[in-house]
Symmetry: C2
Subunit: 344 residues, 2 copies
Amino acid sequence: MSSEQLNSTIKKNRQTVYSYIDKFLSKDHQIDELRQFYQILRDYPSRPSKGLRAALCSLTCETFGGNSHDTIITAAGLELFQSWVLIHDDIEDDSEFRRGQPVLHRKHGIPLAINAGDALHGKMWEIILGNQRILGDQKTLLILANFRKMLNETTEGQHLELSWVKNQRWDLQESDYFLMCEKKTSWYTCIAPMRMGAIIAGADNEIWEKIIPLGAKLGVAFQIQDDILNLSANKEYGKEIVGDIYEGKRTLILINFLKKCNSKEREEVITILNKPRSQKTINEIKRVVDLIRSSGALEYAKKTAMNLTNELKHNFEVIFSNTNPTESKDILRELLDYLVSRKW
Amino acid sequence: MSSEQLNSTIKKNRQTVYSYIDKFLSKDHQIDELRQFYQILRDYPSRPSKGLRAALCSLTCETFGGNSHDTIITAAGLELFQSWVLIHDDIEDDSEFRRGQPVLHRKHGIPLAINAGDALHGKMWEIILGNQRILGDQKTLLILANFRKMLNETTEGQHLELSWVKNQRWDLQESDYFLMCEKKTSWYTCIAPMRMGAIIAGADNEIWEKIIPLGAKLGVAFQIQDDILNLSANKEYGKEIVGDIYEGKRTLILINFLKKCNSKEREEVITILNKPRSQKTINEIKRVVDLIRSSGALEYAKKTAMNLTNELKHNFEVIFSNTNPTESKDILRELLDYLVSRKW
């Protein structure tokens, strides 16, 4: 299995799913303001993205013997979930860039952006209700139930992260970070896409349950890699580099650094991170990044991600032991590897 | 039919629906931050509210021969819709008070409040998915489709209103206001509650369609009454008095005033209304209110609401002509009257 094959599979799948989204979202309206409204809804889904969640759903379905065509609507719903959550997330984190462009609320103001996120959230439910046509009533309701579970976990995780920043919490342990990532990242990035792929393929309940710990680890390793890239990425990354420092995010890297550093460094870093974005100077940001980089915390995070990867690969082989050795299975295996070691 | 009977029916129905919501929303969590999260989700649904949408749904169901017990979950979903929309609406409008207390984001900050709105939005879908147990798969999916339609109309209407303020639009006609109200208010306050009551009772498609123009007029008259109360209400009203002036809302009253006033008054009022909330002085607000009150625009709005009420009463008798003359039908008729003439 070559990485070219993986890339072309992800790309082809992304094209199918995003062309479905493109047809689904209105392009025009006779009223000027509502034409603008639908243009705003199309903004984030039109920006470059990898379509990893859609690929994970489709490949899991195929590996369990299902037809990936049956996952298009669900995968489109997952990608719309990502879009509306990011619109609100960018306001909550006071971010500047998303997928290489200014965030939505810096283009249209916070009120219109909150409302656009809500509208796109509604469009997500609308799109997955369309599953009735291809999956029938029962599977459609199962997919809806998975979306509501995913949303509940994501908002819990988001609350954890936001309230840590708001309440200036610095006494966090690795286990707090793992829990936050499982909720904030794993559910919508890994667990739900894989579970719904399995459901659509007709795999049984036992499989759905076993996917949870696999997807949980995959999501945490994915998030750790995201945190690492944020401190070191090139411009292909799309988000603002060192944005996590500006936003005061409690990453595994930071938690490990605070464990390793001396009390003077700790005080210095916490004082800077507690400041609101607008009061952080470039030199302060550089100082924090230098201290973190020279502490070995990045290497520690890489090692943790690698350990998780080894564990989840074992989970994968157990859960998928009864599936045939197909090309889809090989590509799925490759995708798991890519998720935890991607460079952007 | 006495207004005491109407009041006691609304109150009893509200109690049933809100006790369902109370049991449905988590009260506790072993993690401190998530305990706070669920407390925040319970905030708006715990504040005093009238439960008008729940009553409209339940009474319509009964009038069409259905059992109001079957509407509890749907009515609870409607009330949760109202709660999460108001959380986001209060941020978008930069409001200060809601249901007699400070708005959510002034208690917890914008990031946690946006996320709480999203979480409660998710809880709304979760609660209405519970309809499977009492209504079966098909009716549940019909209810879900009505919620997604209602949400689409509401966000379109909200975009209209917000972009008029943002773009300092002052060239609006009555027809613009009516369209905005139908989308922003009528769908979730009147059309969807009544349609879903009819669906649950087993009324046929033809009825669902006929409810749209009835509910559209009812919602517009309701909104006009809300605008009137905002300029004149006592403290029972719950919202900030003259909040519409602070927020620069394009109400029918204002549109009519701008048509009637001279060019000097027009310029004066527009200059004040274009200012952001924080730059409007109390004297400026008072001046705008005085000008509006003495222009006759309030009386014009009252007359418009009355005309709409007469039309919708006629619609009501036609649509409900085949239903039996029950107590529910009398109370529903009384409720329509109350909605357009309430004092708070």
